[in-house]
Amino acid sequence: MKKLVLIFFTITTLFACKEEENVSGQNKVPTIHIINQSVPTESEYLCDALFDNVLKLTTGDTLKFLFEFQSENPLSQYKIDIHNNFDCHSHGKSLDWSVLKVVDLTGNHALIEEKLLVPEDASAGNYHFMIRLLDVYGNEAEVKEFNIIIENSDDQVPPQININSPIENAIYNHSDNVFFNGLISDNSSLEDGKFELKYTDANNQNYSLYEVFYTTGTTTSYTIDTSYTIGAFMALGEGFFTIKAYDKANNFSTKTIPITIQ
């Protein structure tokens, strides 16, 4: 028996000691360095969360990056991927501006200048921008990721919100119906836009109540006519509704209406 155990461990040790090909490992992972960029990276709130990787651009702008790719193993490819992130939760219903570019590389080091032109007719809004890198063994570099906010050079005027109901500082009970009545209007167009309704209760808890896309045929004005029943789970005390309206170019404005739940 002892012999058997001994043989087993010898074999194990033999395998364990066998020199492995150096194809992977922490130090073998390729890296992406940004040497310079034409637009500074800023901090900005996107979809209610603070991001420190935001690039702000206007339609017609050119975004320039100088990347340095480096690896111990020979490099294989890099990929540029830009797609819209209009509603924060998925990638939206249209693919307005998108870039999908895969480029072959050779050697262990590469300096690459990327010029990305934002089309004149790109929809304004939020976009994702990702740069990925691979070596020939398939080791993946840590992805470099940016959020791009594109403003429209033609229409930079947000829509206006006028609310008749509910009135500010109104008092409601749980299960009361709150009627929303008002008008969203825009200088250019509201087509394909939407408005969102949220409530923040006394405990600072946020509730997303509605996301309403304007009815087809909406041009420069939209009438808000909806209601919401105050949920029993919303904390008593002072809170506020937030209405956020977007126009066609994704310019937006918000309106808050403080109320009290008693």
Binding site: V23, Q77, V102, L134, D135, Q205
Partner: protein, 706 residues
């Protein structure tokens, strides 16, 4: 649904009550079930074989069946959150492990890393684990071993049993309840069970995690959208006659589990904000329904019991997520990303043809037909049909009282058919603009001859030695042959290869065991060598799908697995006992020169148990135990798989049974992760996101039996 469950429990007690009043002659079983009528399962004698009782499952109960048994050396699981877990034996998983319920192999898209096991753990009466190649007996996929869920033993004639369990787990606010009634009236036996379990998002001892050098928040220490629930119902009816016995078992397991909201695509801070309801199961999520009908018949023949097991299974898997969340470029109107409905018909016949003092020979026939249908806006695998059949023979020869030999041979024939699958792309207006082929036509036939030879030698009264040499094979899954798409959970574009051959391996398993009155010891080293192991290889090329990373291509080549488990149980005194378990697996994809992914690290587990002999007549099986398990760092990782640091987990369990007349009330308490340790587990799919595992978890179970 909760209401139904409560109603069920009340009704079942009521039935039991009236039943008891009518029949005074009912015998109440005093202690645990007598051991299950053991069939002649030849392979057990030359491979290591572990039996887990129902009491043990309850004592170490985890969120899933695998969570309840993974403490056993050699066993582990690949987890996705707290509700989904896949069995792993000695580092082998997916379609390399067989789970059999009542003699029928569980079929439910086992190829997916994020596809759990659709089994009601409360309905497990007894299970056995065989580590090592079991293909000879169980067919393709029996490479790493088998987990057999055995049917309940028959109650004595004219008796009745009822049980109800309630369970609470603090970490994910899990509430579970299960009730069963069993009877035997003039050898007509029944067994009915209903289980409901619901859990909230689970808690981790961390307020943030780092992914891609971004620090992301975890509000209230919870992983958003990891909640889930489960509703299972099953019934068995059978009859025992002079010629043997037969039974029909019908069960339905329904699982609904959310995925961590940051696990699809790259996690974003705004997705992680608290939605105010930690029990809500939002997108992305999976809903799985597994329905089965199994018929088991045993007929007494001259040479022993002949078994006929027939089964029908319908596994319906739906994965839901917001369309475009992965940029597949398709327009969809609903959230059904992927639906796979797999229907399986199985027939297994086992006939003993010779039993003498020296020889035992059994022959078997296995038939299986599968029909898979796909639906949803994402493409991963096509609809397909398979037919497979096998003949096998197994002989056991007893040379002397000390030497025993066994040998088996098996011939398999299988076909796989799938049509070419096309996927349309649409423009913004919903007009079809392009049609692309996503998977090729598959029309394949496989045949395989496999064999095994083994021996058991009784060294002396207390110890014996087993050695087993076997070949194993596995038919490639349709996912390995045809998949072409971004598999969510794995964050990469996976591509099949329709030219793959069956996976084959040679395996040597040995076991030394020593059993004495006070101490038992077992040591099981193994070596597996695969000539063409199927694995996902990074292609070093990017996917052209938006928001997708690298293409991983299925490939096959040589690989090797070796390792060992050791365990001891030492009854130091009547009251005090110690249990130790050690496991280690080394593997290497020798054709690539890299280790294989999801390999369990070296671990050592020690448990000290005190079972005081309480004099009071009403108390039984009282125990207090503390166990600690050390997991070494896993630095042997595949390309792009992160390394994981070592950790030490401490758990506490205690329990007792109170007997009042015919009634038994069992209480068991478990505290898992006693130190609320923040650690990463390389076997967790959320490891990729640097998400820590569950923090401290108080688990209380109350079981009522009569």
């Amino acid at each position: 649904m909760k209401r139904i469950a409560v109603l069920f429990i009340i009704v079942s007690f009521f039935i039991q009550d009236s039943y008891a009043q009518k029949k005074d002659t009912i015998k109440v079983l005093e202690s645990v079930d007598v051991s299950i009528a053991r069939k002649f399962i030849p392979r057990l004698k030359t491979l290591e074989h572990i039996v887990v009782s129902k009491a043990d499952i309850l004592k170490y109960q985890g969120n899933t069946l695998m969570g309840s048994i993974e403490r056993i050396p050699g066993l582990s699981s690949i987890n996705t959150g707290s509700g989904i877990s896949k069995p792993v034996i000695r580092g082998l998983s997916l379609n390399r492990i067989i789970v059999n319920e009542y003699g029928i192999k569980q079929e439910g898209q086992q190829w997916g890393l994020d596809h759990g096991l659709e089994i009601d753990q409360y309905n497990v009466h007894q299970l056995e684990i065989i580590k090592g190649p079991v293909s000879i007996l169980y067919g393709s996929d029996g490479i790493g071993g088998v987990i057999n869920l055995l049917p309940p033993s028959n109650l004595p004639k004219n008796s009745f049993k009822a049980e109800a369990i309630i369970n609470y787990k603090s970490n994910n606010d899990l509430f579970g309840t299960s009730a069963a009634i069993r009877s035997n009236k003039n050898d007509v036996f029944t067994d009915f069970r209903m289980t409901y379990q619901s859990f909230a998002d689970y808690r981790v001892p961390a307020e943030e995690f780092t992914y891609n050098s971004y620090v992301l928040p975890l509000y209230n220490n919870r992983l958003k959208n990891t909640a889930g629930n489960e509703f299972n119902i099953s019934g068995l009816i059978g009859v025992k006659k002079k010629w043997g016995k037969t039974s029909i078992y019908i069960s339905n397991v329904h699982q609904n589990a959310g995925f961590f909201i940051g696990a699809f695509g790259t996690p974003k801070a705004y997705l992680l904000t608290d939605d105010g309801d930690n029990r809500s199961i939002d997108l992305p999520k999976q809903i799985i329904n597994h329905f089965k009908v199994i018929s088991n018949t045993q007929i007494k023949t001259k040479h022993g019991l002949m078994d006929i097991d027939l089964g029908y299974q319908n596994n319906n898997r739906q994965e839901l997520s917001l369309p475009h969340a992965h940029g597949q470029g398709l327009v969809s109107t609903d959230n059904l990303a992927l639906q796979l409905e797999l229907q399986t018909l199985t027939a297994n016949i086992r006939l003993p043809i010779l039993t003498s003092r020296k020889w035992k020979i059994v022959t078997g026939l296995n038939l299986q037909h599968q029909d898979n249908k796909r639906n949803g806006y994402e493409f991963l695998i096509p609809s397909f049909k398979t037919i497979s059949g096998a003949l096998n023979g197994f002989a056991e020869y007893r040379l002397s009282n000390r030497w025993m030999f066994s040998s088996g041979i098996r011939f398999d024939l299988a076909t796989q058919k799938a049509n070419r699958t096309f996927i349309s792309a649409f423009d913004d207006e919903g007009n079809e603009i392009a049609v692309t082929q996503r998977s090729p036509e598959i029309d394949k036939i496989y045949s395989n001859l496999s064999g095994s030879i083994g021996s058991r030698f009784k060294i002396n009264e207390n110890s014996d030695l087993k050695i087993d040499l076997g070949t194993a094979f596995r038919i490639p899954t349709l996912a390995e042959l045809t998949s072409n798409g971004v598999h969510h959970g794995t964050y990469r574009h996976e591509m099949g290869d329709s030219s793959l051959h069956a996976e084959r391996g040679y395996m040597i398993n040995t076991n030394y065991s020593y059993e004495a009155r006070k101490i038992t010891f077992s040591f099981s080293p193994f070596i597996n060598y695969f000539t063409n192991y199927i694995y996902l290889r990074p292609s070093s090329k990017f996917s052209f799908l938006p928001d997708a990373g690298q293409i991983y291509q299925y490939n096959q080549g040589e690989s090797i697995f070796l390792g060992a488990e050791a365990s001891t149980k030492w009854n130091i005194t009547r009251v005090l006992s110690s249990e130790t378990g050690i496991e280690y697996v080394y593997n290497q994809n020798t054709s690539l020169g890299t280790p294989l992914p999801f390999t369990p690290p070296f671990s050592i587990r020690e448990e000290i148990e005190i079972s005081p002999n309480i004099r009071a007549k009403n108390f039984k099986n009282t125990y207090f135990a503390i166990n600690g398990q050390y997991f070494a760092a896993q630095n042997r990782v595949d390309i792009n798989e992160p390394t994981t640091e070592d950790y030490f987990l401490l758990n506490f369990t205690a329990g007792s049974t109170i007997i009042i007349g015919k009634n038994k009330i069992g209480l068991s308490i478990q505290i898992r992760n006693l130190t609320n340790l923040k650690y990463l587990n390389n076997m967790s799919r959320y490891r990729m996101l640097n998400l820590p595992e569950q923090g401290i978890n108080f688990n209380i179970s109350l079981k009522y039996e009569m």
